[in-house]
C-alpha cells in the first residue's frame, strides 16, 4: 500500500534534510552512508515512488562519469596497484575513494528527490505565505505565468512561421535572430500584464495591513518526535565524529575496524530506526486515519 508522506510540517522536513546533508557531506564511513541509502530506499518504495530510484541514476550518470574519471586521475596515493595507463598508476584505493564520492553524489540526488516527495506543495505554500507573504506571492505568480507564457510562445512561433520567419535557419546567429519578434512581443505584453496583476493584488488588499493565515500549519506531535530524533542523530554522529572513531582514511590501510566500529554501527542503527520511525508515524489505520 502506498504511504502518504505529505503529513509532516515543512520545517520538520527541512531540518531532517539538512541534518542528512551534513552527514552525507562530512562522513566517510561506508556503513553510515549505506544506512542513509537504505533510509531513502525505504521511503521511495513505501510511497510508490520506486521509479525514482531509477530516475535518480539517470540524473546521476553524467556527474558520476565526471566524478569517477577526475578522481581516478588525481588520486595517486595507495599501495594496491590495479593497472597502469598513460604513465600513471591506478590503485584500488583511488577506485574506492572515487566510488565513495560518487555514492555521496547519488545520495544527495536522492535527498532532493525525497524532499520533492515529502513536501506537500499545498502545505508548503500555506506555511511560507504565513511567514513570507511577498516572496510567496512572487513565486506563485511566476509559477502561474510560466506555463501560460510557454503556450503563448508556441502560438507566437506558429504565427511567425506563417509570417515567414525561419526558425530552422543556418547557424546560431540566424536562429537567435528569428526570435526577435516573438521575444519582444512576449516581453512587452507580459509586462503590460504585470500592471494588471499588480492592480489585482492591490485591490484584493495585499500588503494593506496585518494579514491573517488560511489553513495555518501546526507543528504536531509527529513533527516534534521526528525533529527531536533527528537532533539526537546529529548529536550522536558529532560525538563519534569528534572522538575520531569515524575517521576513515583508506590510504592508511584497509582495516575492518575502520569500516565497522562502535560509532559507525550506532549511527547506522539510528538511521534504520529513523526509517522505522517514519514508517510508524505514517501508518494508517483501517479508516485511513493516522495514528498520531
Amino acid at each position: 500500500m502506498k504511504r502518504n508522506y505529505n503529513i509532516f510540517h515543512v520545517l520538520t522536513l527541512a531540518f531532517t534534510s539538512i541534518i542528512l546533508m551534513i552527514i552525507i557531506f562530512s562522513c566517510e564511513s561506508p556503513l553510515i552512508l549505506t544506512g542513509i541509502f537504505i533510509y531513502f530506499l525505504v521511503v521511495f518504495i513505501t510511497c510508490g515512488h520506486s521509479k525514482d530510484i531509477k530516475d535518480g541514476f539517470k540524473y546521476f550518470a553524467p556527474f558520476f562519469a565526471v566524478t569517477l574519471i577526475i578522481n581516478m586521475i588525481f588520486v595517486t596515493d595507495g599501495t594496491i596497484m590495479l593497472f597502469k595507463a598513460f604513465g600513471k598508476d591506478f590503485t584500488l584505493e583511488s577506485l574506492i575513494v572515487s566510488f565513495m564520492l560518487s555514492f555521496k553524489l547519488l545520495l544527495i540526488m536522492y535527498l532532493f528527490m525525497m524532499m520533492g516527495i515529502m513536501i506537500d506543495s499545498d502545505r508548503a505554500v500555506s506555511f511560507f505565505s504565513s511567514k513570507m507573504p511577498k516572496s510567496t506571492l512572487m513565486m506563485m505568480v511566476t509559477f502561474k505565468l510560466f506555463p501560460s507564457m510557454k503556450n503563448r510562445l508556441v502560438t507566437l512561433k506558429q504565427i511567425y512561421s506563417i509570417r515567414g520567419v525561419d526558425f530552422e535557419g543556418k547557424g546560431m546567429r540566424e536562429r537567435i535572430k528569428a526570435f526577435i519578434p516573438i521575444l519582444s512581443i512576449l516581453l512587452e505584453s507580459s509586462l503590460d500584464g504585470a500592471f494588471d496583476i499588480g492592480e489585482a493584488a492591490y485591490v484584493k488588499g495585499f500588503l494593506s495591513g496585518k494579514r491573517t493565515v488560511y489553513d495555518r500549519q501546526t507543528f504536531g506531535r509527529k513533527d516534534y518526535i521526528v525533529t527531536l530524533y533527528a537532533f539526537l542523530l546529529i548529536v550522536v554522529y558529532l560525538f563519534f565524529r569528534i572522538s575520531g572513531s569515524l575517521n576513515f582514511d583508506i590510504y592508511i590501510g584497509i582495516d575492518v575496524s575502520k569500516f565497522i566500529n562502535l560509532g559507525a554501527i550506532t549511527v547506522f542503527i539510528m538511521l534504520l530506526m529513523l526509517a522505522a520511525l517514519i514508517l510508524i508515524l505514517t501508518e494508517e489505520n483501517e479508516d485511513g486515519l493516522h495514528r498520531y
Binding site: 505568480v141 506563417i162 500588503l207
Partner: protein
C-alpha cells in the same frame, strides 16, 4: 444619501495632458445593479478604478473632485478598509488570479483584509458553495476554462462579503454560455446578498435584463444616467445605439412603452408582419479547400473527429461552436501547423506535403490576439516585415492592402498607439499582404466595440467581393449573420451542420441572432435589424 456619491470627478493619467474623466457626477444607490456603458476609450474603466481606489493609489495621476462611499471619502479610507468594502473583477481572468489552487485564491483576499482565522475556511467553502463551484475547489487554476476562472474571481470577491462589487467588462473574453453563467451569478449575488453591483460592459444585451439603472459615457463625460425606460424613451440617436437589438427594433417600429422582457417584445410585435423578398444566391462551383475525414489532436487527445468540408471560391463562411469543440484546431490544421490524418487540400494541393511558407502564400491565418502581430514601430513596417521574410518586393502591394483594409492613413503610426479595432485590421493586413486566396480568422471580433466590429465587417465583406475566400470562427452570431453567407456549427470535433443562413441559423436552437429568435415564427428568414425594418408591413 446615495451609497456611492461622486461629485465633479476629473482625472488625468500620469504624464498625460488630456483628462480621462471630465467632471463626472454620479450617485449609485445601495443594492442596485448599475450598468456603465460606452465605447472603448470613453473612460468607463477609469471611473471604475477611481471607485476601487486603484486610481490614484496604484496608478498615480491627478484627481479632482470627490468620491464618497457611504458618506466616507475614499481618500479617508485605509487600503484595508477599501479592500474590505469593495471587490473588483477584471476583464482578463488570466491576470487577476494569483494563487495556484482555487480554494487558496479565494482565501487570499480574506487573508489580506485580516479576516479572523477561525472564519476563513468557513467563508472560503461557503462562498464556493454559493457560486456552486465546490467541484473545482481543489483544482489547479491553470487547468480551468476562462469562464470557470471568471467565476472563481467573482467567488473570491464574494467571500470577502464586500458591500459593493465592481466588474470591468467581466464577460468580454468569454464565450456566450460562460458569459450567461457569469451574469446569472452576479444577479444571484445582488439578489441574495444585497451587494451593490457596478458593471462596465460593451455588450449590453445580457446585462440590460438585470440592471436597475444605466450610465453612458463618451470622451470622459457621463452623457446619460437613468433607468432602462428612460434610455428607451430618449430621442438621442447616439444613446439609443446602446439599446439591445430587440429594443432598437421595438423603438424603430414606434412601440411606445418599453417591452421589458423578450416575451413582452414578442407580444408587442404581434401586430406586425414581415415579408422578405426572395434573394438569389451567388454560386461558384470552383472548389478552393476540400477537407475529407480529418482527424487531428494534441498528444493523446483527439480534437477533430472526422471533419468533412468543401469550401468554394468566394465563400464567406462563419463557424460557430462551444469552446473546446475544435474550431481553432481546424484552422490551425488547415495551415499545416498540426499533424493530422485524412486529407486537407487547398487549391488541389495536399497541406501535408507543403511547408508552412508555401501554405501561407495561398492561405492566410490570423489568430485571436491581434497584439501577436505587432512587432514593428510603424504599420507600414509591419506589412513590409512579412513581405521581406518571403523575399517579395513591395510593388505597391502594401499600399493596396492598407487601402483595402481602410488603414492607409495609419501607415506611419505606431501600431501600439491605435485602437483595438484598427490593430485587428493591421494584423489582418500583415497576413493579407501576401495576397492569399483564402483567409482564416480566429475570433476577429473579440473585445471590439460595436463600431469597430461594423468597420471590420464591411472591410471583410469587400475583400470577399473582390475574390478572397474567408472562413472565420466566432461566438458573435449577430456579426457572422450580417456578413457571412455560409455557416457551420462544430460540436465535439465534428461539423454537425453547414449551409446557408436559412439552413443553419433558422433551424438553430442556440446559434442564431436575437432578431431571428424574436421573429422566426413570423418569418424564419429575418436575421438582422435592417432586414426586419425593411420588410415590415404594418
Amino acid at each position: 444619501m446615495a451609497y456611492i456619491d461622486i461629485k465633479g470627478l476629473s482625472y488625468s493619467y500620469p504624464d498625460e495632458r488630456d483628462r480621462a474623466l471630465k467632471d463626472v457626477s454620479l450617485e449609485i444607490e445601495k443594492g442596485e445593479i448599475f450598468l456603465l456603458m460606452g465605447d472603448s476609450g470613453s473612460g468607463k474603466s477609469t471611473l471604475l478604478k477611481c471607485i476601487s481606489g486603484a486610481i490614484p493609489y496604484f496608478y498615480g495621476g491627478t484627481l479632482w473632485g470627490k468620491i464618497e462611499i457611504q458618506g466616507k471619502a475614499v481618500e479617508n479610507m485605509t487600503h484595508q478598509e477599501r479592500s474590505g468594502t469593495i471587490g473588483m473583477i477584471f476583464q482578463d481572468p488570466e491576470r487577476q488570479l494569483l494563487m495556484n489552487k482555487v480554494h487558496r485564491e479565494i482565501a487570499f483576499g480574506l487573508e489580506n483584509i485580516g479576516v479572523e482565522e477561525k472564519n476563513i475556511k468557513r467563508r472560503v467553502w461557503e462562498a464556493l458553495q454559493f457560486s456552486n463551484i465546490q467541484d473545482i475547489a481543489l483544482q489547479d487554476i491553470n487547468t480551468l476554462s476562462g469562464g470557470q476562472k471568471q467565476r472563481v474571481a467573482i467567488t473570491s470577491a464574494v467571500a470577502g462579503l464586500p458591500q459593493c462589487i465592481l466588474l470591468d467588462e467581466p464577460t468580454s473574453q468569454l464565450d456566450p454560455s460562460s458569459a450567461e453563467e457569469v451574469v446569472e451569478l452576479i444577479k444571484k449575488i445582488n439578489d441574495e446578498l444585497g451587494i451593490t453591483i457596478v458593471v462596465v460592459e460593451q455588450r449590453v444585451d445580457r446585462w440590460f435584463q438585470i440592471c436597475d439603472r444605466i450610465g453612458i459615457m463618451k470622451d470622459g463625460m457621463l452623457l446619460f444616467v437613468g433607468t432602462r425606460e428612460e434610455l428607451y424613451l430618449s430621442d438621442d440617436e447616439y444613446l439609443r445605439g446602446f439599446l439591445p437589438t430587440r429594443l432598437k427594433l421595438a423603438k424603430a417600429l414606434g412601440i411606445e412603452k418599453m417591452p421589458l422582457t423578450i416575451r413582452e417584445t414578442r407580444r408587442a410585435l404581434g401586430r406586425f408582419e414581415f415579408r422578405l423578398k426572395e434573394d438569389k444566391h451567388k454560386g461558384s462551383s470552383k472548389c478552393i479547400l476540400s477537407i475529407k475525414n480529418l482527424y487531428c489532436g494534441y498528444g493523446n487527445e483527439e480534437i477533430l473527429r472526422g471533419i468533412n468540408l468543401l469550401v468554394n471560391e468566394g465563400d464567406f463562411i462563419g463557424i460557430f461552436g462551444p469552446n473546446g469543440a475544435g474550431k481553432s484546431t481546424l484552422l490551425k490544421s488547415i495551415m499545416g501547423l498540426l499533424k493530422y490524418s485524412g486529407s486537407i487540400r487547398i487549391m488541389d494541393k495536399e497541406v501535408k506535403n507543403l511547408g508552412v511558407r508555401d501554405i501561407a502564400l495561398i492561405s492566410g491565418y490570423v489568430s485571436q490576439n491581434p497584439n501577436d502581430y505587432i512587432s514593428k514601430d510603424t504599420v507600414y513596417d509591419e506589412l513590409k516585415f512579412t513581405l521581406d521574410n518571403y523575399g517579395i518586393k513591395d510593388d505597391g502591394v502594401i499600399d493596396i492592402t492598407l487601402k483595402d483594409l481602410n488603414i492607409y492613413e495609419l501607415r506611419h503610426k505606431n501600431p501600439r498607439d491605435i485602437s483595438g479595432g484598427e490593430r485587428q485590421r493591421v494584423a489582418i493586413a500583415s497576413i493579407l499582404v501576401l495576397r492569399p486566396k483564402l483567409l482564416l480568422l480566429d475570433e476577429p471580433t473579440r473585445g471590439l466595440d460595436f463600431e469597430a466590429k461594423r468597420k471590420l465587417g464591411r472591410v471583410l465583406k469587400s475583400l470577399n467581393k473582390n475574390g478572397t475566400t474567408i472562413i472565420l470562427i466566432t461566438h458573435d452570431v449577430d456579426f457572422a449573420s450580417e456578413f457571412c453567407d455560409r455557416f457551420g456549427i462544430i460540436f465535439n470535433g465534428e461539423i454537425v451542420s453547414i449551409g446557408t443562413r436559412e439552413e443553419v441559423l433558422s433551424e438553430s436552437i442556440y446559434y442564431t441572432t436575437e432578431i431571428n429568435k424574436l421573429l422566426r415564427d413570423k418569418n424564419k428568414r429575418i436575421f438582422s435589424l435592417e432586414q426586419a425594418l425593411s420588410s415590415v408591413r404594418r
